[in-house]
Amino acid sequence: MHEPPHWRDRAQNERLVARECGECGYVSFPERREICKRCGARPEWAEVQLAERGTVQSYVVQNRLPDAFETPLPLAVVDVPQVGGGEPARVYGLFTETDPEDVSVGMEVEADLREIFDVSGLPVHSFKFKRPRGDRL
């Protein structure tokens, strides 16, 4: 059971499903609009699967958050590639199981499905990023 806003976004949140513009190749995630944000066309959209990994484009480490968050909490802009090629999607990603000191621009990260919070006891699942296991010091 899910609250409506989270039920609507389940495919993006839980399965990393995105859409690719047939005109310019822009990858729309998590939004699913008819008009492409980048080229302005009203293209055919192809449903594409994002990989469960990505590359950090920039990051911060948050120290002041509501009590429900564990701090310090790294957060990054991550470019997530498609399975099978094409442009990556650019997403915000929270980190888990990662030492804030280890995060850097350009680092490769893995995506893990987690329960990220609950609304009135109803769980909402989405991806968090972490340093790949083989790379841990």
Binding site: S58, V60, P66, L75
Partner: protein, 388 residues
């Protein structure tokens, strides 16, 4: 029909933690100060329309009535304008457009925000669901992401970013309406508590109550109010998103560059013509990248601009002589309106201890708002001049 529009009056209250004043008290104070500021006097009946800028944090001003009650202005068009942290300057732009189009001869802009009536605080009191919907991106995170990448791409240093805070607190110490009047050093900024790496406490604007009001008039009636008007020569407003822009959105705000281009084109000037600017320094890094977005220097050279002293009070292009949001405070709906007022005072030579030299002719005001789950920004740029 398109008419020239001038600012004829400006007023604001001292910003701060104003526990003894309600939203209406603050709005009334700013309105009366603006009426009193008009050189040759004005009657409330002269005002044809009003725009009220607030994001309504206090929760009791969701319409134009929020401005009618404290001013007594009923029976005329009054509307609330909201555009995130660009609310105040967007309200100003709306008033200017109404006068420019001929639907009003005299229009009021009133901006007010009661930030300190909640005990919880803006971040810690935010609905969890909303924070998660924005993927956990708080305001310092949104702007801090630009700092990390700017340092990575251009070698911008922590010290250069801290210098923005040092400069603005130095200016704010001389500005009577500022919330904070203390000065600080680069060391103190770098050693203040970390809020969101790479930003520390002194990189962040405070949580501040305040209100400001501006009165604009058409070329047809301006002479009855003042012989020293300040003309609104250009106004730009644009939106952009991290979800559509390229890497330029990781080191700046494309919406600011777009709004500036619109405003410069209307004014028929370039960034070199600007003598003084009040820009959106909600965080130190915001001001540094804004130098670049507004064309005050090339992309990546914001750090050098501050090292060279160009943007200091006595530099060749002073930025935030009022102390900016960092020292003056950021009562959201009032912020842009106060910035317009400060440029108006600078261009009239009335800015007192923070007056910039060489009789400035051209001034610029700039706001950035973030929204839509922290994906992008709306930016507003207004260009004012003593020259019509």
């Amino acid at each position: 029909m398109s008419r020239d529009v001038a600012v004829i009056g400006a007023g604001m209250i001292d910003f701060g933690e104003l526990f003894d004043q309600s939203l209406d008290d603050m709005a009334e104070g700013a309105y009366l100060a603006a009426l009193d500021d008009v050189d040759d006097g004005i009657e409330p009946d002269d005002i044809d329309a009003g725009w009220f800028g607030t994001i309504d944090i206090a929760g009791n001003a969701s319409s134009g009535l929020g401005a009618s009650h404290p001013t007594g202005l009923f029976g005329i068009p009054m509307a609330r304008v909201e555009n995130a942290c660009a609310t105040g300057s967007t309200a100003f732009r709306s008033a200017v457009e109404s006068v420019r189009s001929g639907s009003a001869d005299v229009a009021l802009v009133l901006g007010a925000e009661k930030m300190r009536d909640s005990a919880a605080g803006l971040i810690e009191g935010a609905a969890l669901d909303q924070v998660w919907r924005g993927r956990g991106v708080t305001m310092p995170a949104f702007f801090g992401l630009r700092a990390t990448r700017h340092m990575h791409d251009y070698g911008t240093t922590r010290e250069q970013i801290a210098k923005v805070s040092v400069k603005n607190h130095e200016n704010g110490s001389k500005y009577p309406h500022a919330h904070y009047r203390f000065t600080c050093t680069v060391d103190e900024v770098e050693n203040s508590p970390t809020v969101t790496y790479p930003l520390n406490l002194y990189d962040c604007c405070p949580v501040t109550d305040g209100a400001a009001a501006t009165i604009v008039a058409s070329e047809d009636v301006v002479d009855s109010y003042t012989s020293d008007p300040v003309w609104v020569r250009g106004s730009g407003l644009s939106s952009d998103s991290l979800l559509r822009a390229g890497n330029e959105a990781l080191v700046g705000f494309p919406a600011s560059a777009q709004a500036a281009e619109q405003a410069y084109e209307q004014a028929d000037i370039g960034p070199d013509a600007i003598d003084v600017a009040e820009v959106h320094d909600c965080f130190t890094i915001t001001e540094l990248v804004t130098y670049e977005d507004l064309g005050f220097c090339a992309k990546g050279e914001g750090g050098e601009l501050i090292d060279e002293g160009v943007v200091e009070l006595d530099g060749e292009k002073p930025v935030n002589p009022s102390g900016g949001l960092l020292a003056k405070g950021h009562p959201i709906g009032a912020t842009g309106v106060a910035q317009v007022n400060e440029i108006y005072e600078q261009l009239r030579g009335e800015a007192g201890d923070v007056q910039v030299g060489d009789d400035p002719t051209w001034g610029l005001q700039h706001n950035i708002g973030i929204g839509r789950n922290a994906t992008g920004s709306v930016s507003c740029v207004n260009v004012l001049s003593t020259e019509r």
